[in-house]
């Protein structure tokens, strides 16, 4: 899944997809920015400005090394730090499922930004369904490697679930795609994204 990549290439496949959606020279905030790879890529390739937000102390110095602005902050405390409408794009990449109140965070995202991009592991992927059906146990996979009792991923959802919530919150879904981690586009993936997509990517805006 993770190839050896040079500096200007991204290590996570979903990052590539996200960067396609980000406009050059825009204001971006990446919530749960990890080691800063995506934000750094966007700064170099798309000349964006903005901040990464990360809680893990070990990631903070790595973020600073990459040259991004990073704010050490717990997203579960909301985005009160950030002014309303202060960003063009708010990114939440593979972080939603670890949030205590994902619904509130999504609302906050639409407060501070014009557009939101969320990526998450699609729990309805056939392999998860298969594991539950056959073993009767919580699924484990490359994206979800933890045991049920110590997983940080406390709010898993499916692509369909996410669309329902966006609808309920009144968000306009601009694009929604599902990908396999190997990047392959298969017929099944296009026909049944909620069954064959491993990672879901969704771009939405205010109504």
């Amino acid at each position: 899944m993770i190839k050896s990549l040079n500096q200007s290439t991204l290590t996570r496949y979903d990052h590539q997809m996200i960067s396609n959606w980000v406009r050059p020279n825009s204001r971006v905030i990446d919530l749960g920015c990890g080691n800063g790879a995506l934000m750094s890529y966007l700064q170099t390739e798309k000349s964006v400005t903005g901040y990464g937000v990360e809680l893990n102390p070990e990631m903070i110095s790595q973020c600073i090394d990459t040259g991004i602005n990073v704010i050490q902050f717990n997203l579960d405390k909301g985005l009160g730090h950030f002014d309303t409408n202060s960003f063009d794009t708010v990114i939440l990449s593979l972080t939603l499922q670890a949030m205590r109140r994902p619904r509130e965070l999504l609302k906050e995202m639409m407060r501070v930004g014009k557009e939101g991009i969320v990526t998450f592991p699609n729990f309805a992927h056939w392999r998860n369904r298969w594991q539950i059906a056959m073993t009767g146990k919580m699924p484990e996979s490359e994206q979800l490697p933890h045991k049920w009792f110590d997983t940080p991923n406390i709010h898993l959802c499916t692509i369909n679930d996410f669309h329902v919530l966006c609808h309920e919150l009144g968000f306009q879904i601009e694009s929604s795609i599902a990908v396999r981690m190997d990047g392959r586009q298969t017929l099944g993936l296009r026909a049944l994204p909620n069954l064959f997509g491993e990672i879901a990517l969704c771009r939405f805006s205010k109504p």
């Binding site: 600073i64 704010i71 902050f73 950030f82």
Partner: protein
């Protein structure tokens, strides 16, 4: 022969800069002439772009790193600078890459003009006649020192606590004269609780019978009892409850039984008294009073309709703001206020909240996450300097 550790700047000698141009002070006072004592570490590059200014805190001075050559090895070792863990070859503020300058603030008692200096008008120590100096006065005097050293732009201005206030003021008063501003364990203003603590300290000093309204120099005395109490209460607030519980608990000094007397029995009592005594020997009471006032007065937002965002609207430097989870004197929330105002101005700012038990004094300690963050950020500052050099001389356009 004293051998300084290889990762230190070695033995250092303070330098003196004299200024004859009067300095108009925020308090409407005026210093006709003054001197600033300072130390430097590392080498200034030919372009004079690699200089870092260190601003000291309440009881700090110009001796930030290295050792002072003293009569014997023991005292030389003890003379280590207050931020020796942070400044030195290979350390976060890397003297192999940066030229580091640390002045003693005006009003100080370590060699810069202050209450214990001789007033040229009277031929006697200034004492209580020394004008109140504020953060902005210090920053202005530091800017004059920069001119003297030929430093137009600092690669970074760095300070913790009261030093962080000076760093912040630099970004407001001289936005073009610094590239990076590092504000550590600081605040954009003190709250009522903080001012309250400061006033308890001041009252302890001012009500000491040996204070003599600040004119104690000629009487060969000093308000030592007041200073001791001031330092003791200060020290408690610089530590955290958890840290004190861990360090002292309810441990008794010698025995396991109480003496039922007023002599110090608990370890925490003797520790605080020791800290107080040490402080009395090295610090001047009038300076302490001045420094706490400077802390209380600092509030750059006041002139901008109480909006810190407006106060910081002209800044041009990049920022690193650092706070410590157990610091209740300059709590993380105070740092977050600074970060928030900088974000509203779309400034380049990074913020880290270091998890630790040591309270406000953490900023002086070698805490792994803190050291890593500082190292990364200053590595970036240093790399910018070399990239700038490359683009200037590399002919890439």
């Amino acid at each position: 022969m004293f051998e300084p550790p290889h990762n230190s700047v070695g033995t250092v000698t303070p330098q003196l800069a004299k200024f004859d141009q009067p300095l108009e002070l925020e308090s409407r006072g005026r210093l006709e002439s003054y001197q600033i004592v300072f130390e430097t570490y590392g080498k200034l590059n030919p372009d004079k772009t690699n200089a870092i200014l260190i601003c000291h805190a309440l009881s700090g001075d110009h001796h930030a790193a290295g050792y002072h050559q003293l009569k014997d090895e023991q005292s030389t070792l003890k003379s280590v600078g207050w931020w020796n863990t942070m400044i030195g070859p290979g350390k976060p503020i890397d003297t192999n890459r940066f030229f580091v300058v640390c002045p003693n603030n005006l009003g100080g008692c370590s060699g810069s003009t202050g209450p214990s200096s001789i007033n040229p008008d009277t031929g006697k120590p200034y004492g209580p006649d020394f004008p109140i100096v504020t953060v902005i006065d210090w920053v202005r005097s530091q800017a004059r020192l920069s001119d003297t050293l030929g430093i137009q732009t600092w690669a970074a201005v760095i300070g913790g606590s009261l030093g962080g206030m000076q760093a912040m003021q630099w970004s407001i008063t001289y936005p073009d004269r610094l590239k990076h501003c590092l504000i550590i364990a600081s605040a954009a203003k003190l709250n009522a609780q903080n001012i309250g603590f400061n006033d308890v300290a001041r009252q302890a000093i001012r009500t000491d019978p040996d204070f003599h309204s600040g004119n104690y120099y000629s009487l060969n005395t000093s308000p030592a009892r007041g200073m001791r109490v001031a330092r003791m209460i200060g020290h408690i607030t610089y530590l955290s409850e958890d840290m004190m519980a861990l360090k002292f608990g309810r441990n008794l000094r010698k025995k396991s039984k109480f003496d039922y007397e007023f002599t110090p029995e608990f370890e925490v009592e003797s520790y605080l008294r020791y800290q107080g005594d040490r402080f009395v020997n090295r610090f001047d009471a009038n300076t302490y009073l001045l420094m706490t006032k400077a802390l209380d007065y600092f509030d750059p937002a006041a002139e901008s309709g109480n909006s810190l965002t407006s106060a910081l609207s002209q800044v041009k430097s990049d920022f690193l703001v650092v706070s410590f989870s157990s610091d209740w004197r300059f709590a993380p929330e105070r740092s977050r206020e600074i970060v928030r105002a900088l974000q509203s101005n779309r400034a380049n700012v990074s913020y880290s909240e270091i998890k630790c038990d040591q309270g406000h004094d953490s900023f002086l300690l070698e805490i792994e996450h803190y050291v890593n963050v500082m190292k990364s950020y200053l590595g970036r500052v240093a790399n910018e300097l070399s990239n700038q050099k490359l683009s200037e001389h590399g002919g890439t356009g």
